[in-house]
C-alpha cells in the first residue's frame, strides 16, 4: 500500500473516532452512550492543552499526560498529528482537495506555495501562551479559543450534533440547544470555507497547535527531504503540498504536516522520508523575526491586565455567570477552562451553556448555567459535568460532596448561587393568583422554598348578606359567576373574622365547606368578604443550592419571577452572602 493511502486511512479512522466520541458523550447505559468511552482522548493528546495548563497552574493534571506521547512522537517523526490524526486538519484537507481538484498542476503549485503570513500562527501561539504565562499579574488560559481540538469539539458538540439531532432526536428527547451557537457556526464555517481560497488555510495561517508542533519538530529524527541535490525542478512535489513547505527547494520542516504527497508526486523518487537532512538544504526554524516574537509576547502579557480593567473578576462580576457544580474558584477556573464544551455536551438537562462576553471577554464559551434553556435546571443527583471536564476546571465531585453528606457534612452542600423571588412578577405576590410551582419543584429536603399563607380580599369582593345559614350565604348581589369560587382556593370571611372555605356558588349563593362552622350565622345586611388563599413563596437562603429548577419551572415564562444568580456560591468566599455558610 502506498503511504498516502495509509495516511488517508489514518485520517478517516481518527476522524470517525472523534465523531464517535462526540456521539457517545450522551449519558446512558447503552453501548453508544457514555459508559466508559474515553471521550476526552483527543483533548488529552493535545499538547497545547497540556502546555497551557502547565503555564497557568504549574502542574500537569494527570489525564493530560497523554500529550507527552504526542510530543515524543512529534520529536521523533515530525508533525504527524496534523497530517495523520487531527480531525480538524482532516476536514481542511478534504475540503481543500474538493475545492481545488479541477485546477491545473501549475495553478496548484501556485496555490500550495509557501507564504510569508504562515508565520502568523506562531505569533498567535506566542500571544496565547503569553497570556497564560505571566502569573505575577494573572494568568488566563485562552488557547481554547483557537486550539483546533477544543474548537472542533465545541463545533461538533454544540453545533453540528444538535442540528443533526433536530431531525433524528437520537441523542436527546426534545433536542439540544446552545445559546450563541451562531458565533461557533460562523467561525467553523469560515475556517472550512477558507480552504477554497487556500487549502488548509486554518492549519497554515492560524492554528496555534500546528505552530507548537512546528517549534518542537525541529529535531525530528525522520523528516521529508531530497535524497540528492539535483533534480529536474519540475516542482510537481509542490502541487499537492498540504503544509505549503516548499519541498522543491529548501524544505521548511516546521511547516511540513507529513502528508507525503510530495513523495507520491515525485516521478524521480528523489523526495524521501529519511533521517538525513535534505540534500537541497532545509529550514528548521519557524519564519518569525525577533521583533515579531517580542511584540507578540508583550501583547499577550499586556492583554491580561487590559481585559482585567473591566474588573469582571472583582466587584463588577456578572451575576449570571453561574458555574456548574464542582467548578473551582473563578480565577483558578479561568486558568483551566479550555472552552471545549464537553460539560455542555454531557449535561443531561442541557442547562450548561456556552457563556457570552457579558461576563467579560474571558467568559466566552466557558460553561454557564442558563435555567431558561434545556429540560430542567441543574439536576439534583447529577455530577456528570465534572466527570468529563478534561482539565478539572470542574472537579469530578461525587453526589455525596454535592449534597454535603458524610465526610462533606461540615462543608455543606455545594451551592451554585441563590434563588431570588421577584415579588413584582410572582403570581401569588403580585397578582393574587395561587401558584407555588417553584416550591413544589425544589429538590432539597427540607425545601429551600417555603410558603406563608395569607388571605387577600379579591377585587370588588365585598358582598351584602341577604340571608344566611350555617351552610350557605345568599347575597343581595346577583352577579357572581357560577362556581367561580368553587376552586378550593376561595374563602368567605364574616365581619367577625370567621373564615370558611367556599365549595360552590351560584349567581347569588355561596356554599360553604362542612369542615368549619360559624359561631354566629351572619346577619342580614351584614357584609362578607370573599378572599383568596395564597401561599406566598419565600427562600430559605441557608437551604437554597442555586440549582435553578425553580427558575426553570416558573410559569412566568418571559422574565422569570424566581431567578438564580451567583451570589452565595460556595466555590469561593468572594461572593458569599451569609455570615455563616
Amino acid at each position: 500500500m502506498k503511504i498516502v493511502q495509509t495516511r488517508r486511512i489514518s485520517q478517516v479512522f481518527f476522524f470517525a473516532m472523534f465523531v464517535w466520541f462526540c456521539i457517545v458523550s450522551t449519558i446512558g447505559e447503552k453501548f453508544w452512550q457514555l459508559r466508559g468511552w474515553p471521550v476526552n482522548w483527543f483533548l488529552q493528546l493535545d499538547p497545547l492543552l497540556g502546555l497551557g495548563t502547565i503555564l497557568t497552574t504549574h502542574t500537569l493534571y494527570w489525564p493530560l499526560l497523554w500529550a507527552l506521547a504526542t510530543v515524543i512522537l512529534t520529536i521523533i517523526f515530525g508533525r504527524f498529528f496534523c497530517g495523520w490524526v487531527c480531525p480538524f486538519g482532516s476536514i481542511h484537507h478534504f475540503v481543500g482537495f474538493l475545492g481545488n481538484r479541477k485546477k491545473t498542476p501549475a495553478q496548484k503549485i501556485q496555490l500550495n506555495k509557501y507564504r510569508k503570513p504562515q508565520c502568523i500562527k506562531y505569533l498567535v501561539l506566542v500571544v496565547l501562551l503569553g497570556m497564560a504565562a505571566f502569573p505575577s499579574i494573572r494568568a488566563t488560559l485562552q488557547t481554547g479559543l483557537l486550539d483546533p481540538i477544543p474548537l472542533l469539539t465545541r463545533s461538533v458538540n454544540l453545533l453540528l450534533l444538535p442540528i443533526a439531532d433536530r431531525a433524528a432526536n437520537f441523542i436527546s428527547v426534545k433536542g439540544r440547544f446552545y445559546e450563541g451557537a451562531w458565533l461557533i457556526f460562523a467561525i467553523f464555517l469560515s475556517a472550512v470555507l477558507l480552504n477554497l481560497v487556500i487549502p488548509r488555510f486554518y492549519c497554515r495561517f492560524i492554528c496555534p497547535l500546528g505552530a507548537l508542533f512546528g517549534v518542537i519538530d525541529r529535531f525530528a529524527l525522520w523528516r521529508i527531504g531530497k535524497n540528492q541535490n539535483e533534480c529536474s525542478n519540475c516542482k510537481l512535489c509542490e502541487k499537492s503540498c498540504e503544509g505549503g513547505c516548499e519541498p522543491a527547494g529548501s524544505i521548511r520542516i516546521s511547516e511540513c504536516v507529513l502528508c507525503f504527497n510530495c513523495r507520491e508526486d515525485c516521478k524521480d523518487e528523489i523526495i524521501n522520508y529519511q533521517t538525513q537532512k535534505s540534500l537541497a538544504g532545509e529550514i528548521t526554524d519557524p519564519d518569525i523575526s525577533r521583533r515579531g516574537f517580542v511584540l507578540s509576547l508583550a501583547s499577550g502579557i499586556f492583554a491580561v491586565p487590559a481585559v482585567g480593567l473591566s474588573k469582571k473578576l472583582g466587584s463588577n462580576w456578572y451575576h449570571k455567570v453561574i458555574r456548574p457544580p464542582g467548578a473551582i474558584a473563578e480565577n483558578e477556573f479561568l486558568e483551566r477552562c479550555i472552552k471545549c464544551g464537553q460539560c455542555m455536551r454531557i449535561c443531561p438537562t442541557n442547562v450548561i451553556q456556552p457563556g457570552g462576553i457579558e461576563g467579560g471577554l474571558e467568559n466566552l464559551w466557558t460553561p454557564v448555567l442558563n435555567n431558561r434553556i434545556g429540560s430542567s435546571g441543574c439536576q439534583y443527583n447529577c455530577v456528570a459535568c465534572g466527570q468529563v471536564c478534561p482539565t478539572s476546571a470542574i472537579r469530578p465531585i461525587t453526589p455525596a460532596e454535592k449534597h454535603g453528606l458524610g465526610e462533606f457534612a461540615e462543608a455543606g452542600p455545594i451551592k451554585l448561587g441563590t434563588a431570588f423571588i421577584d415579588r413584582n412578577r410572582c403570581l401569588p405576590w403580585a397578582m393574587d393568583k395561587p401558584c407555588i410551582v417553584c416550591q413544589e419543584n425544589c429538590p432539597v429536603s427540607p425545601k429551600a422554598i417555603y410558603t406563608r399563607e395569607c388571605f387577600n380580599t379579591i377585587r370588588e369582593g365585598t358582598f351584602t348578606v341577604k340571608k344566611a345559614t350555617n351552610k350557605t350565604i345568599e347575597t343581595v348581589e346577583t352577579n357572581l359567576l357560577l362556581d367561580k369560587f368553587a376552586t378550593g382556593d376561595y374563602y368567605c370571611t364574616t365581619k367577625k373574622g370567621e373564615r370558611r372555605k367556599i365549595t360552590a356558588n351560584t349567581e347569588n349563593t355561596i356554599v360553604l365547606s362542612n369542615n368549619e362552622h360559624f359561631s354566629e350565622v351572619p346577619a342580614a345586611n351584614s357584609k362578607v368578604e370573599i378572599q383568596i388563599r395564597l401561599q406566598k413563596p419565600y427562600i430559605d437562603i441557608e437551604k437554597c443550592i442555586g440549582c435553578g429548577i425553580c427558575e426553570h419551572e416558573c410559569p412566568v415564562s418571559g422574565k422569570k419571577a424566581i431567578r438564580v444568580s451567583a451570589e452565595g456560591e460556595t466555590r469561593s468566599t468572594d461572593r458569599k452572602l451569609l455570615l455563616k455558610n
Binding site: S445, S513, P555
Partner: protein, 331 residues
C-alpha cells in the same frame, strides 16, 4: 454563453424567443394568481387536528371496584389487590396494547419515593404480558429531564426487564385536545402518542404530600399527560386535577402507599420524609382510590377539594365505602 448576434436574428429565432418569453410571463402570472391571498394571516389560533383520548375503562362489577391490601412486599400486594378485583384477566385481554402510566416526574432514586417504584411497574407489566397483552408501553412526560428520570428512578430498567417499551415524550407524540365541558383543558397539547393505539391504560402512583394540591395520588399522576406550559394550571390546581379525571378514563389505577411521602412533597429528597404505611390500593375508580389514599396522609376527603369536584363531574365517588372495598393482608 447564449450569445446571439442581431444580424443573425431570423423570424424563426424571434418567434421561438417570443414563445419562451410568453411562457415565462404565463408561469409567473400563474404562480402569483394561484397563491393569491386576499385576507392575510388571521389572528385565530389553530384548532383543527385535535384528538380525544379513548375511554379505557371496563364494565363495572359490584363489589369489585376497589381493593386494599396490606403488606410490605409490593409484588405480593399488587398481585393480591388485582386478584381481589377479579384477576388481571379482567383488565387485560389477549392481544391488548397496554399503556402503563407511572409517576416518573423526578430524576430521583427509588428509595426517596418521589416516583413510582420500579418493581411495581415491572410486576404490573409482567402481569399484563401474562394475561396475553400484545405490547406494553410505559409512558410519562416527567418534570425533570425525561431520560434522566426514567434512568434514575429505575423505571426504565425495570420496564425493559419485563419486556415493556419506554416511550419518551418526544415532541411529535404530542397532540392538542379539548375536554368537552372543560374549562382549562382547551386546545391543549397532551402526550397522545402512546395512547393512540392503546386498548388499556393502567396508572401507578405513590401517595405523596403536595403543598399546592395537598396530596398527589392517582388523579394527579395524570398531570403527566399534559404537555406545553402546564405549570400555569397551578393557578387552579383543583379544577385541572378534576378535569384530568374526566379526560383520562383508565382501566385500572394502583395507588402505592407502602411508603407514604408525608412531608416535603412532591419531590421528597430524604428518606425521613417517608412513612411506612404498608398499604396498596387497586381500583377502577381513581376518585375512590385517592379518597382512601388521603387517609394514609392523615387527611380527610374534604381537605382535597379536587375529590369532590371530580365526583361532581361524574369521574367517580369519594365514598369508597359504598363500593364495598375488599381488604386483605399479605405477609
Amino acid at each position: 454563453m447564449n450569445q446571439e448576434k442581431d444580424e443573425n436574428l431570423t423570424r424563426r429565432k424571434f418567434l421561438a424567443r417570443a414563445a419562451k418569453a410568453g411562457l415565462s410571463i404565463a408561469a409567473a402570472a400563474a404562480v402569483s394568481l394561484s397563491l393569491y391571498d386576499d385576507k392575510g394571516p388571521g389572528a385565530s389560533v389553530k384548532t383543527e387536528g385535535q384528538v380525544k383520548l379513548s375511554d379505557f375503562s371496563i364494565p363495572y362489577i359490584d363489589g369489585q371496584t376497589i381493593s386494599i391490601v396490606r403488606g410490605a412486599d409490593r409484588k405480593k400486594t399488587v398481585n393480591k389487590a388485582i386478584e381481589l378485583l377479579g384477576g388481571i384477566g379482567r383488565f387485560v385481554k389477549k392481544d391488548d396494547i397496554v399503556v402503563i402510566k407511572p409517576n416518573v416526574a423526578f430524576a430521583s432514586p427509588p428509595m426517596l419515593g418521589a416516583t413510582a417504584r420500579p418493581e411495581l411497574v415491572g410486576e404490573v407489566a409482567r402481569l399484563c404480558y401474562k394475561a396475553g397483552a400484545k405490547k406494553v408501553y410505559v409512558a410519562d412526560n416527567p418534570i425533570n429531564d425525561p431520560a434522566s428520570c426514567f434512568t434514575l428512578s429505575g423505571i426504565g430498567k425495570a420496564s425493559s426487564a419485563a419486556g415493556a417499551k419506554v416511550v419518551l415524550p418526544k415532541n411529535h407524540l404530542f397532540k392538542n385536545t379539548t375536554l368537552a365541558g372543560g374549562k382549562l383543558i382547551r386546545n391543549w397539547p397532551i402526550f397522545y402518542g402512546p395512547f393512540e393505539t392503546a386498548d388499556k391504560v393502567i396508572g401507578i402512583a405513590p401517595v405523596k404530600d403536595h403543598h399546592r394540591s395537598v396530596a398527589s395520588m392517582t388523579m394527579k399522576n395524570f398531570y403527566g399527560l399534559l404537555g406545553g406550559r402546564r405549570n400555569i394550571f397551578h393557578q387552579d390546581i383543583n379544577t385541572i386535577i378534576a378535569e384530568l379525571s374526566m379526560m383520562v378514563k383508565p382501566t385500572l389505577v394502583i395507588l402505592d402507599g407502602t411508603e407514604v411521602m408525608m412531608t416535603n412533597g412532591p419531590t421528597g429528597g430524604s428518606v425521613s420524609d417517608l412513612r411506612r404505611a404498608n398499604t396498596l390500593i387497586a381500583s377502577t375508580d381513581c376518585v375512590a382510590a385517592d379518597s382512601y389514599g388521603c387517609g394514609l396522609l392523615h387527611l380527610k376527603v374534604s381537605d382535597l377539594p379536587y375529590l369532590a369536584r371530580a365526583q361532581k363531574f361524574g369521574a367517580g365517588t369519594t365514598d369508597y365505602q359504598s363500593l364495598k372495598p375488599k381488604f386483605a393482608t399479605v405477609i
